[in-house]
Every structure is written in C-alpha cells, then in structure tokens.
Amino acid sequence: MNFKVKIGNLVLKNPILTASGTFGYGLEFEPFGDLKKLGGIIVKGLSLLPRPGNPGDRIAETPCGMLNSIGLENIGINAFLKEKLPYLPWKHTPIVVNLYGEDLQEFEKLAKILANKEEIGAIEINISCPNVKKGGMQFGQDPSSAARVCEIVKKAAESKTVIVKLSPNVVDIKAIAKAVEDAGADSISLINTIPGMAVNPYTRMPKLTNIIGGLSGPAIKPIALRMVYEVAQTVNIPVIGIGGIASVEDVFEFILVGAHAVEIGSASFTNPKLVFEIIKELPTMAKKLGIRGLNEYRGSLYA
C-alpha cells in the first residue's frame, strides 16, 4: 500500500514525522531504527545563535504526560548546518527545520539562511513555544502577528515549503489558522504544548525552576484532536496533527479528523523505537480498517 502524502512541495513517503524537541537532531536515534524510513525528520527548534535554555529543573512528569520548560536550548543554526545536517539522510527523507526567532528580523534571517540549502526539505515556524520570554507563543496568539511572521518567512524562504506551528493557548484556533493560510503558509501543524505547572507539596517547590512549562503527552490528545478537527475543517492546506500520539491507532485518529500527516512527540521518550514501529504497523492497521489508501480515510469521520 502507498502511504505517500504531499505537504507543500514535499512528498513524504509516509505520514509519520518526528516532533521538534523530542527527536534531537535526528542522529541520536540511529541506534534505534533506520532514519531513512521516516516520513520526515523535524529537528529541535533552532535559533540564529546558540541558546542555553532555562536554568535548573526543566522536566517533570504529570498524569499521562509531562511538562517541559527547556526554553529552546539549541546549538544555533550554523552549528546545525555544519555539524549535524551533513550526516542526516537528507537525500532519502526530508529534513524539516523548526525555527525560533525572538523577533521578525530573526525569523527572516533564519529563513534566508535556509532558502537555498538543498538539504533542507521544509521549514516549520515555531510561533507557539510557551517557554521563552520573547517571541514564541505571543506570535501565535493573535491572527495578525501570526500572519506577519508567516509572510516574512515565506518570502525569505523562497520556494521552500513553510509549515506554521500553532499554539493551543488561544480561544479560537480557527481564526489563527485562517490568517496563516491567507498569509501563504503551505501547511499548518498543531498543537504545541499547553502551559501548565506542577509542584511538590512536601518541599513546597515548583517542579520546574521556571515554574510554568508546556504540557505534552497522551493527556493532551483529546484537546489536540479537537483543534486539528476544527482547523482541518477551516483551511484548505494540509494539516499536520501533533499531541499525545503514541500508537498507530492514534495516528489514524488524527487522519480521521482530517490530518494529512502527524508528528510523534513525547511518546518517543517512552520507547525510542516507537516511530519506527508505528511506520511498520501502518499497513496492518490500514488492512484492519479496510482501506486502500489514506485519501479515502482522511477526514471521513461520521459526524
């Protein structure tokens, strides 16, 4: 069976991508499976300059999920291009770079750097990180600033496919999605983490030094599924579903509500072979569902 999907100019051999920040720079997963088999690799969010991230404790477990307040620690775009990208199997599977800028200029510069790099398959703009002081989520909470970031990156990135990653911390996700589509996005991915908090009642300390972090994992799947459903019904560009996906059933649930592809996030921490296993299970699951391709299934929810 054929599991190909098109996202902008990209053709993915299957709809399984890795969510930014949960798959490192990709190479870390070589011991666990053949990276070439992946639908695409989305790497850790990159900024112009290296960032140390937030100090102190920055992960905590919660019921069916986890909080993180990494604060976009990364090695910077240049180190990535020099030290990581050449070793990734970019000829065989698209490498998607997740970008974070503190302001519009930074986003523009980042996009320009990537515009003519043939090794880069697509750009995912992160306007939804809850863990940084500047930029991040605030771009993603208002339709017009979301649109502005998108336009600028789209122009600077020239022909590169641009995916805009939305924040769930909004009242009306449909309005943001529409604004971003109108601004020229090739695709929309959602959701990023939801602001949350955990404390230790005995030590009276917050579990994250930053106090507030982003919630991810199966706990948020119902919220993610609802938002993907709402957005898929609103826009005409492909939607990429993210949030708590941890099994091949979950993948098909997101496709059922209208997603073209999905990203596997924190669930990879529970089993580093998970993405590879899910890809192997796609044909069996499709057979169980009695479908011959993803097109006939996508968005076919009886509702």
Binding site: K44, G56, T270
Partner: protein, 265 residues
C-alpha cells in the same frame, strides 16, 4: 560510546527486597553489552499504561552472562510499580547509556558513596581483580541491612557512616576530607550519591585540588540526549546533557552546578 546502544524487551528474572520494604534488587535477562561502571539504563515495563508516562533511569549495578542487575529504592510511583514486577514480566530497557567512570584497575581507588549511590559500584567491587586496592566510604541514612554491603568482598576496606544527624554529616565530611588527601596524587576517587552529598565531595576535593569523578543525577525523560531535560551548565558556558556527556563528570566540570545546587535544592 553511543554506537552500541540497544533498546530491548528484557525479562524479569528476580525481584528481591533487601529489607522487606523499600530496597530492591531487580534482575533482568542479560543483554550482550560492553559497558563501564557508572553507565545506566532507562527502564519502562511493558505493562505500564501512560501513567506513569516516562521511563526511569537506573545505574547498571551488575551485568554479566547471568543477569542485568539494578539496585533501587522506592521513592515514588514508578519505583513502587517496579517493585511489584513479577518473574517473567517484560520491561523495555535501553542502554548502556552515557559515560561511566574512567577506571584504571592498577591504581588504588577510593569510592565515595551516599545511600543509593552505592548501586553503580557493586559490580565494580565484586569483579575487581585486586579488591585490596579498593576503599569505600559509605554514608547512609537507613539501616546498613538495606544495602547490599555484605555482598561486597571482605578484602576491601569499608567505612560506613550513618548520616542521620547534622553531627553525623560532619563526621562523614571529615572522614572524606582526610581520605581524599591521601588519594590526591596516587589514586582515583569515584563518587555517587544524592546532590548534597556530591556537593560536599565536590567542595572537599576542589579545596584540596584533588581529581574526583562524580556521577550526577538529574531528572531525565529520554536518556539519550534529545529532550535536553537533563542539561547542566558547564564551566565555560556550554551546556552538558547529564545523560550523554555524563552521568559521570570530572569534578571541575560541575563547579557551576554545585554553585547552583544551593539555589535549586
């Protein structure tokens, strides 16, 4: 290292409580790994649903043809569930992870262990070709019978200090300071234990300009350097991932962390 990491479904061979309560030895069917003292594994039983969600990190305590052994204490939900595993249950395990201690088997070695910090050293002591070269200072809160101390060779020198009170802690500190000086040039010092213990070791050694290798514990989600949850600031501003660059660090690489410890803990 890093090239030979494997993720396997291993079988539980034995779960044994050492004190009938909180301290457990878990034996799993052995993978064929080359490994070093101080390396660790991530463990997640197949029977876990999504709660608890994350895997748990544990030092490799012993690994030979018969078993992979970890030694753990119940401190929360995850370790409680691990203690309830039954023979034949399957657990997902990936490892060997991180960088362990760099050990020269011909040199005298001083081991500084606090509580569960004894775990990584059990295999080392048992299998060391010259156990008479080893010396162990062991600080512990709970009764000595909770720890697998009597399994260790009679030939090694063991100093145990029960650090229940502030006075005990001062005693432990002095014992360490005195010993450390002796090893400054002629041997190696290895340390593992809770953060305040490591902090004490760090300060004792730094002040004597003594080299010590310290194994650090940080909250971890992935164990393989991708979540960046375990990052610590290195001495010159760059970050280290405890799971990948550690868990064993050179003393001087931890100065910034030790400065922060008071702030964090």
């Amino acid at each position: 290292m890093g090239q030979n990491i494997e993720c396997l479904d291993l079988e539980v061979l034995e779960v044994l409580s050492l004190d009938g309560k909180d301290f457990f030895r878990l034996r799993l069917s052995p993978p064929k790994w080359e490994w070093n003292t101080g390396q660790f594994v991530m463990i997640r039983p197949l029977s876990w649903s999504y709660d608890p969600f994350l895997p748990r990190p544990f030092s490799i305590s012993q690994l030979d043809n018969e078993k992979l052994e970890i030694f753990f204490q119940i401190v929360g939900k995850g370790t409680k569930l691990l203690s309830q595993l039954k023979n034949g249950d399957k657990v997902k395990v990936w490892g060997p992870l991180g960088h362990g201690f760099k050990i020269d088997l011909n040199l005298p070695i001083l081991i500084l262990a606090g509580g569960m910090g004894i775990a990584p050293f059990i295999g080392l002591v048992k299998n060391h070709p010259h156990p008479e070269k080893l010396e162990l200072i062991f600080g512990h809160r709970r009764d000595l019978s909770c720890y697998p101390i009597n399994e260790l060779s009679k030939k090694i020198l063991i100093w145990t200090v029960r650090d229940a009170s502030q006075r005990d802690i001062e005693r432990l500190k002095r014992a360490i300071q005195v010993k450390v000086e002796g090893y400054s040039s002629e041997g190696q010092i290895l340390a593992c234990g809770p953060l305040p213990f490591l902090n004490m070791v760090h300060n004792s050694c730094i002040s004597k300009q003594t080299q010590v290798q310290i194994s650090l514990e940080r909250p971890m989600a992935c164990g393989i350097g991708v979540c960046l949850g375990c990052s610590i600031p290195g001495p010159s501003g760059e970050n280290f991932q405890t799971c990948k660059h550690g868990p064993v660090f050179k003393c001087e690489d931890l100065s910034t962390v030790c400065q922060q410890i008071k702030g964090i803990y």
